[in-house]
Symmetry: C2
Subunit: 384 residues, 2 copies
């Protein structure tokens, strides 16, 4: 144990430079650039996860999350991980081995719901739409009636395709058949209307690095009373300890806060600041801003002869547009030059849409007209 | 979908103040105060998780992690979550349903290994020591010989008790009985010698907010070749998608990086900066500094009539000391006054050590003589 006798391996003690980050404008599907106030907050000195001053910050963050989600759900909190961790929290807690789970798949994130629900023991049934389309309510009704699932899982804003699934009315179908509704809001929260209570959504999750303009790392989830009733009646513990809501609940909501994990004060500062910006702007104004910026993009694209992959404008995500790649254009090469020549990031499509679309995000702080102008100007240079 | 027709719930749109964080000196069991260079790095502008510039930063972070761990393991990376997420990554991947798992329990974190290994399907056997003691090699040898486990799990630095388990030689016992060795290094990495390769540790995990002086949120794990062989031969997928090493591997190590989750550039900047500080100082110097600062604390405590809960100095964690609470003193009241009157955080004991110890951390950047002086001076005021 005496250090002076230890001879250490120096192989991996590499020389590195002071961090010098290229000034990217992040117009892909996320992460998006954080708001400067958020970046100032994230670097503030730490508090411990059980400091009374930090508990106060957590409580404010929860309240602001309830506003952003439009819910009175007590069990509203942030997971210490990325949106994928929030997704797994939602799925792992709500699925018990043998439960019939119906997943409405219209893109990659629906497929991932299938994968996660299967891993956590669900008896998974699937209905599918082509990538870029959304479900009609009648299709959902028929499938729920046929499969009688314990949970219907669907994606609100499908980041892989740019399609925004209308959610109003689906909650009522689920209630009719005594089924829970779980919704992926990773790309919609803070950018498009998502009314958890009005739409009778029982479980929802999102991320911090898109519509909320924060770094990734503290990801919102909310569970309604019907979901908590199912979770409280589980016959088996949740597979995962880290994402177990019964443990998270005692930390986030207990009268005396029980130690679970070391919640990052810095990430919580960031999330709180991002949510304060949402509350200051107001949800209606924020949704209208995202929609207006998106329309500016769509109009400008049309002038360049570019079209949207999602045909119906009402079914497009206001914060993420999929642009069809014109015949004969190398999608990857254009995205590469945008990054190299202009420090602008957009993403390509993947899986079924590989090479067929670019994905352009105008999210949170980045949803501003000047970002549309610079992207269109750069695209014009590269496509001419 | 038209925003102007939506009337939103304003109940949770609370008024909040600009963040004003009290200037705590974090001398508890973690988080510890981050180094100022780390706090500067964490607030830098973002890169996306697949940006070539970010992949370069990930690669440097991996190399520096290998130096900190003293390992050549290819599968060395950071989990997007806290140390508890890294812990679950280690356990969930290495345990398959029905595996005999032996856990050497000498405190709370050993108990948590039991809990996690059970949730992931292990047939768990336990050997135990009183809280504050460590295992003799002979005890480990006999237990491995008796139970013939697939994996022996043990904690190197038991944060709940202050005891540092000698690890040299235990890897050899495991090899003799064809068993893997998994080690919790949450409180030792960057603060006390942890020689993954020399000590033949097959799986190890840690956190960022203790010996590495970062915020929580990007947590080191390393898997050796024998561990990867077991994982590659799994009959069932890992329960958890978020923490599945086969998916994490394609993101962290693939020639073409496969999308898995949105790794936080900000947290990676922070971890890289914390690890650069380790490389600049050198492990031997860093370990010696932690030990010297701890000895200063122990000597000063003796002058105040205070004793260490862990009797043998060689079995004390250099970055975390458990101080026995004197007869008749209210441990909780003293910790409360340290926080309120002097902005100094120390923690109490919990579970079997509730009310019996304080836990004092001098970790990473905070392992400095002036922090010992101020704590001793404040304790003198409060205990007189």
């Amino acid at each position: 144990m005496h250090t002076q006798t230890t001879s250490t391996n120096q192989t991996h003690r590499i020389a590195t430079q002071t961090l010098d980050v290229p000034p990217r404008l992040l117009l892909g599907p996320g992460p998006s650039n954080a708001h400067p106030r958020v970046l100032a907050a994230v670097g503030m000195r730490q508090l411990s996860h059980l400091d009374p001053a930090f508990i106060g910050i957590m409580n404010e963050t929860q309240e602001l999350l309830r506003y952003a989600w439009q819910t009175d759900n007590e069990m509203t909190l942030a997971i210490s991980g990325t949106g994928s961790a929030a997704m797994e929290t939602a799925v792992a807690n709500i699925v018990e081995r043998g439960d019939v789970i119906l997943v409405a798949v219209m893109g990659y994130f629906g497929e991932r719901l299938v994968e996660m629900a299967s891993r956590h023991g669900g008896d998974v049934r699937i209905i599918e739409k082509p990538w870029g389309e959304v479900f009609e309510q009648g299709e959902i009704y028929d499938a729920v009636k046929e499969h009688r699932p314990a949970v219907l899982m669907m994606v609100h804003a499908e980041t892989s395709t740019g399609a925004l699934q209308p959610m109003a009315g689906i909650g009522a179908i689920c209630r009719e058949f005594d089924c829970l509704l779980l919704t992926d809001c990773v790309t919609s929260l803070g950018a498009a209307p998502m009314l958890v209570d009005d739409w009778q959504v029982d479980v929802a999750y999102s991320c911090s690095q898109k519509g909320l303009s924060c770094p990734p790392g503290a990801s919102p989830v909310t569970f309604g009373p019907r979901a908590m009733e199912k979770i409280n009646g589980r016959r088996h513990k949740v597979d995962t300890w880290y994402l177990d809501t019964t443990l998270l609940r005692s930390y986030w909501l207990g009268d005396v806060r029980g130690y679970h994990h070391t919640m990052s004060s810095n990430m919580t500062y960031a999330l709180r600041e991002g949510l304060r910006l949402v509350a200051e702007e107001g949800l209606e104004a924020r949704w209208a801003r995202h929609r207006a910026t998106a329309e500016l993009l769509w109009d400008g694209m049309a002038e360049l002869g570019l079209t949207c992959h999602v045909v119906n404008p009402e079914h497009r995500i206001p914060s993420l547009t999929t642009v069809s790649v014109p015949e004969g254009v190398d999608a990857r090469a254009v995205a590469g030059r945008l990054l190299r020549d202009y420090n602008i990031e957009v993403a390509g499509g993947f899986s079924k849409l590989a090479g067929k679309v670019w994905r352009v995000g105008l999210m949170g702080y980045n949803s501003r007209p000047e970002n549309v102008l610079i992207l269109l100007a750069a695209l014009k240079e590269l496509l001419d």
